[in-house]
Symmetry: C2
Subunit: 313 residues, 2 copies
Amino acid sequence: MRYAIIGTGAIGGYYGAKLVRAGRDVHFLLHSDYEYVRQHGLRIESCDGDFTLPHVNAYRRAADMPACDVVIVGMKNVNNHMLPDLVRPVLKPGGIVLLIQNGIGVEADMQKALPEAQLAAGLAFICSAKAGPGLIRHQCYGSINIGNYSCRDRELFDRLLEDLQDASIKAAEVDYATARWRKAVWNMPFNGMTVALDTRTDLLLKNPATRHLIREQMMEVVGAAQALGVRGLDEKFVDKMIADTLTMTPYSPSMKLDYDNGRPMEIYYLYTRPIEEARKAGFSMPRLAMLEAELRFKQETSGISPWEKHYKG
Amino acid sequence: MRYAIIGTGAIGGYYGAKLVRAGRDVHFLLHSDYEYVRQHGLRIESCDGDFTLPHVNAYRRAADMPACDVVIVGMKNVNNHMLPDLVRPVLKPGGIVLLIQNGIGVEADMQKALPEAQLAAGLAFICSAKAGPGLIRHQCYGSINIGNYSCRDRELFDRLLEDLQDASIKAAEVDYATARWRKAVWNMPFNGMTVALDTRTDLLLKNPATRHLIREQMMEVVGAAQALGVRGLDEKFVDKMIADTLTMTPYSPSMKLDYDNGRPMEIYYLYTRPIEEARKAGFSMPRLAMLEAELRFKQETSGISPWEKHYKG
C-alpha cells in the first residue's frame, strides 16, 4: 500500500506521519515547507508523545510523485479547483482518494472531475495545528470517521481502515451522507457565528438570544438533511450537540482562525453549497443563508485575498 | 393650545423650538440640560437658518408643568416604561399625545397605560442631533407624518396639524399602520445590519450578498404587514426603498449611532415587538429574528447599560 498526502499541514501532516511511523510507504506533497522538510523531515508534538521523522519522501510537484493506492487530501477546501490536477498524476488506477475536508459537496465535485476515482470522506475529530515549518502540534483527540462515497473495491477500503488503525489512529466506517450532515449541524452555526459576532462557542451558548438562534440554525441543517433523505438527524441530535458543546473547552472553530489570520474562509462548501442543495430539495435555510451573506460581506470588506475559488463545473 | 415637550433632544427640542418661534405656548421637560436651558434657553443651528430662544419654559419634573392640550414625546423608546408617569401629570383631559418614536407597538403600550389618552404617531423625516447643552443641530429635512392612532377629537387633531404647519414644519396626515410599517421596511434591515456588520447603508447595498439579504429582510417586513392586514406595502415599495437608499448620502442609522456611543439600542420596539406581532398573525420573520439575536448579543457583551426596558403590561 502506497500513500500520498496532498496538503501536509495540521491534518495531512499528522495522519501521514503516523502512517510513516507505522511503517507505511508515504509520499508528501509540500508547498512552502518543501525545502525545510526535505532537509529536516517532519516533527509531531503530540499529547500522545512527540516524535520526529528525519527523512520523509517530500515533493514539490504532484507530477514527480509515484502512483499511490490511497491519496489523502488534507488541504482546506478553498482551493479545490486545483485539486483534480494535484490528485490525477498521483492516483493509481483503482485507487482511493480520502478527502479529509469540511463541508457538503466536496466529493460530488471531485467525482465530476475524476469520474473513475473511488472516493471516501474523512471526518477528522482532532485538535491540531501547523506550528512551524515541518512542525505539527497535536493537542488532543485524533479519531477519524470514514464514509464510503464511491469505493467499489471493498478490500482496498478495508485495508485503508486497517492501516489507519495499525498506525494507532481511531478509524471507523460511518454512513457517508449522515456523517457529512451531522458534522454540518455543528459546523454551520458555530463556524460562522463565531466570525459574525467575533466571539467563542461558549459565549454564544451563554447568551439566551444566540443560544436560541444557534438551536434554530441547527434545526435548519436537520431539516435540510431530512429534505434530502439523509437519515440519523433529528431534534434529539441537536440537543446532544448543544449539550456536548457546553462541556467543551471554549473553542475557536477553524473558520474563526482563518478569518482572524486573514485567510480565506470555507464559505462555499460550508454554506453556499448545502444551502443550494437544500433549496433544490425544496427546503429553505434563511438563517444560515443570512449568515452566509454576513460572512461574504466580512470577507470581502476585510480584503482577504485570494477570494475562495471553487469548481465552476 | 398649550404644548408640552417630553424629551428635549434632537427631535423634541427641534419641533418644540419651531413652535415657540411661531408663538405657541410650549413647555419643555429637561433632564441633564435643565440648568443650562433655564439660564440660556435653546439654540437651533439649522440648514433653514439658525435661531436662539433666550427664555423657554423649562422644567425638571413633569409634576411642575401645566396641563397641556398636546404632549409631544421626543424621547428614545428605550425607557418607555417611565413614559406614562411623565405624560400623566402634563396631559389635559381630552388632550393628544404625539409619539415621535421609532418602531412598532409604542402607541398600543401607551394606550394600555393611559386608556383615556388620545394618541397619535409622529414619523419624523429629519437629520438632527443634540450637539451640546441646549443646542440642536438640524442638518436637513424636517417633515413629519402624523398617523391618528386613537384621536376622537378631530378638531384638536387638525389644530395640531395646523400649528405645526404654521411653524413652517411640513406636517401631513397619513394612515397610522401603513406609515409605521412602511418605516419599519427601512428601519429593521438597515438599523440592525449597520450595527451587526459595523458598516454603512451604501456598503451594505454595494455588496451583492448583503444587498440580496437586505431585500429579503425588507420582504419579511412586507409579509408581516400583509399578514397583519396593513395596506400599502408590497414588492414595489421594497424596490423603491432600495433605489431611494442608493441615492442617499452614506448614512449611519440611529441604532448605529447609539451602539457606537455606548447607548442602549431600541431593540424591543424595532425588532422584538414587530416580530412577535407577526408571529401571532402566523407569519415568521427568521432573518430579522436572527438579526435581533445578534443585536442582543452585541449589546450584552459590549456592556451597554442600562439594559433597554419596556412595559411588562
